[in-house]
Symmetry: C3
Subunit: 347 residues, 3 copies
């Protein structure tokens, strides 16, 4: 149902502290995360192989985990290394462990074949902890399938309708068809709006002489990672030609991670490179984004209720859906390839 | 699952105001209702044909509706007349519109083939706004399949048991087998109780010299419409022979509209033709009815829980079930006919 | 799904008072219980044979029950003896009645073929009302399948992990493999821990000179009845050899009764034979047990959530699972036998 061999964001770094456990379900699988003594993040299946109790209700014993139902102990590779009332523990007694990489404040996890987990394939989101940029960590939980949120992020024509007072923009914004380019594992969407009003969230954090040229250029790649170069500059200062003078620039980083077939984790940060010595600006930007994302969640959740009520309903594609249609095809291509590999490997 | 080509009550007139939207699910389909400039009620599928978002979260633009997810605009026939980012809108871009008739304070809707929607087939409920009669609008929501409520209304032997202190009557009332006559699209149930006590709700609103002759004569027709001539007159004044002297007469109007397979809208009014200049009498009658209908809801909801727990349970028919058994057969006959028509039309 | 021909505990005696009704679902079947004039407990299917309404919403008429939907009346054998609007009541108009035995404060019910219900097969729990023993009645409701609780009770190696501060014991307790003996309808589990610390709950209610020898010897029999001889005596006083000097003895009685496939009634008492004139000791013991059982419920409910999330998960047996594996096989053997009998009887 979900792509297995890909990097998902599992958590913000700060969610996993030095001592405790952190439990989160990812692609339907309960995952226990914790930091070993050297601060490396460990991710194990959060389900004792004995009778299925959550290990996250257990306790740390150094870098190991003791299940507090019947006392089985697992090391950080997932191997059961102690079972009360027996001297030998069979080798097959283990829980799954998952490849994990901590990078730029995000914990990335690989739910598929760990041998294929290549850290170089992790998308670059260095703006999240680059000293020249500022952002706050965002997280929203959705009770919808993650693809409905992908759809939303792949079609910014919803901005003036869903976010009139936040991300905003005039309704004419929706008329501009973005350039959609195909990437190997996703799409690149480019949209320029020239000589337009400053949107409310940007007017609130920076003074502007008048109208602006505004851009959104983002890569949206599997499994559901958005990395965006967006911003605005005073009209006529040459932003479109590549000069960014007196601009407000952002590098939005967003990651959708399926929790279950009907729920999703949404991680986001919205780094900016201006006023980086003014935490109140960072906070105001963050709060605007959270407010706007709550607007998205309201409409998408209502959409999901309508879809759930009548599974026979089929969506109808419009011109604005170019990017999302392409992305859904890419997801299908990955899923087909994994099904085929799986079928071959089990012949 | 539900009869399509029939008139359902969708709302009370006052529920749909001049400016806003009113959303209600009917026979499993989300419906948006609103009044156009000339006050005509419009009913559209409450689900944008694009990605399924509810139009009821959108906005009015004159007599049109703008979806506030991606900005598609629909006219009151359901046709999409504007889509951002494209000049031509394909003809198949539309949501369903439903035939609607507003009559005697009820909004009637036809969920099936609009070409078959004959306003003359709407049952007469003129007492709901006849100046010689008074009533208040009633609505109850049920979490049960509508047929269980039909059953209840088709067998008044439950009155002394479910409603001892409201609609009341002695338990001997249940012993009298009503006359059940077959109508083309339902049944007519007639029950006379001669020389009996005044039931509590009637004693509360009118003075009586002694015992009364009491009658309930109602048509119960598909999809689930009850229209009742009921009342009582002092014993021996000839009510049974057709004279209604010093009588308290009612013309109960009730309509069951399936919301989903497991929930139902229940609309009702209980017009009376006495004391019509005393609003407190109208209110007292209405409150008695609401109290009694809450008693019905309690027992029917408990019945539904029992049935849901064990789908293998089969009901056992008794003599008192004559009317409801006939009505369920009529419903089945209509459903069969619609299935057959549907099968032929798709050959 | 559940063994039918066996005695289940349906209630504590005090739950069924002299006048009212008591309703409880047992093995998926709604059951109405009440006391007839001679105080005998009657158990009927809590579902009118007419339209499925709960009889427990009806009323007592002497030893009979009137359904307060349409007025059908049932005697305490389940036969319908009155139906409004008809003179003859057909013989098949009845609800099921269940064999019931009240013994030692527990109401035992037989959900299967009443002809097979042998009161002599009821397990002995006389300590619950023996004047030489004291206990308080316990009841917990679980939202899990009853077998997960059986598992828990069949493997006391969980004690030091789930109950470190209540039932307690050092973790070495889990290393001692109990003696598991096969009974005809269950298993006997025997575990001695010599020269060990007094567990917290026992230290709170009795003074001890030092360490103790501790034992748990229990029969766990179908459908899910635990009867335990447990306790402790000062070390070296010969408990293991059969002398119980200055001992604290208990005769725990526990009964698991499936409510539905995913919920369970749990009845328990923990009789003790020391300090029987000190109600505060009885209360303290009871509260320790309740606190411990709440700990069990927390972990088992978490386990159930994990299992429900992924039906493909299979448990892995360890040495400590000997008793529970045997018990599950016995349950399967009973279920198979009932299925076979049923198949033969319906040929």
């Amino acid at each position: 149902m979900f792509i297995q061999n890909t990097w998902y964001v599992a958590a913000w770094s700060h969610e996993i502290d030095a001592d405790g456990f952190f439990a989160r379900t990812i692609t339907g699988i309960p995952v226990l995360m914790y930091r070993s003594a050297d601060s490396t993040v460990v991710a194990l299946e959060d389900r004792c192989c004995h009778r299925g109790a959550p290990l996250s209700l257990g306790r740390r014993e150094g870098d190991d985990v003791r299940c507090l139902y019947h006392g089985l102990k697992f090391d950080c590779s997932g191997a059961c290394i102690e079972a009360p009332a027996q001297d030998r523990v069979p080798a097959q007694a283990r829980v799954r462990s998952f490849a994990v990489v901590e990078r730029h404040r995000w914990i990335w996890i690989w739910m598929g074949d760990a041998a294929l987990a290549d850290p170089d394939a992790i998308p670059d989101t260095h703006w999240l902890d680059d000293p020249d940029w500022r952002s706050l960590p965002g997280y929203i939980h959705y009770d919808v399938n993650y693809l409905l949120i992908c759809d939303n992020l792949l079609d910014f024509s919803h901005l003036p309708f869903v976010h009139p007072t936040t991300l905003g923009g005039p309704e004419s914004y929706a008329k501009i068809r973005p350039l959609v380019e195909r990437l190997d594992n996703g799409v690149r969407v480019t949209r320029w709006t020239m000589d337009t009003d400053v949107p409310p969230f940007a007017a609130a954090v920076k003074a502007w002489p008048g109208k602006v040229d505004r851009w959104n250029i983002y890569d949206f790649t599997i499994p559901g990672i958005l990395r965006m170069d967006s911003g605005m500059a005073p009209v006529g200062t040459g932003a479109f030609e590549g000069r960014r003078i007196d601009a407000a620039e952002f590098r939005g980083c967003q990651a959708l991670t399926p929790e279950t077939a009907t729920s999703t984790h949404y991680f986001f940060g919205h780094p900016h490179n201006f006023a980086i010595d003014r935490p109140e600006v960072t906070r105001a930007i963050h709060e605007s984004i959270v407010e706007a994302f709550d607007e998205d969640r309201a409409i998408i959740t209502a959409q999901q209720r309508n879809l759930a009520r009548d599974p026979s309903f089929t969506m109808m594609a419009f011109a604005m859906d170019s990017a999302l249609v392409q992305f859904r095809r890419i997801v299908e291509r990955y899923l087909d390839a994994e099904r085929e590999n799986h079928a071959q490997s089990t012949v």
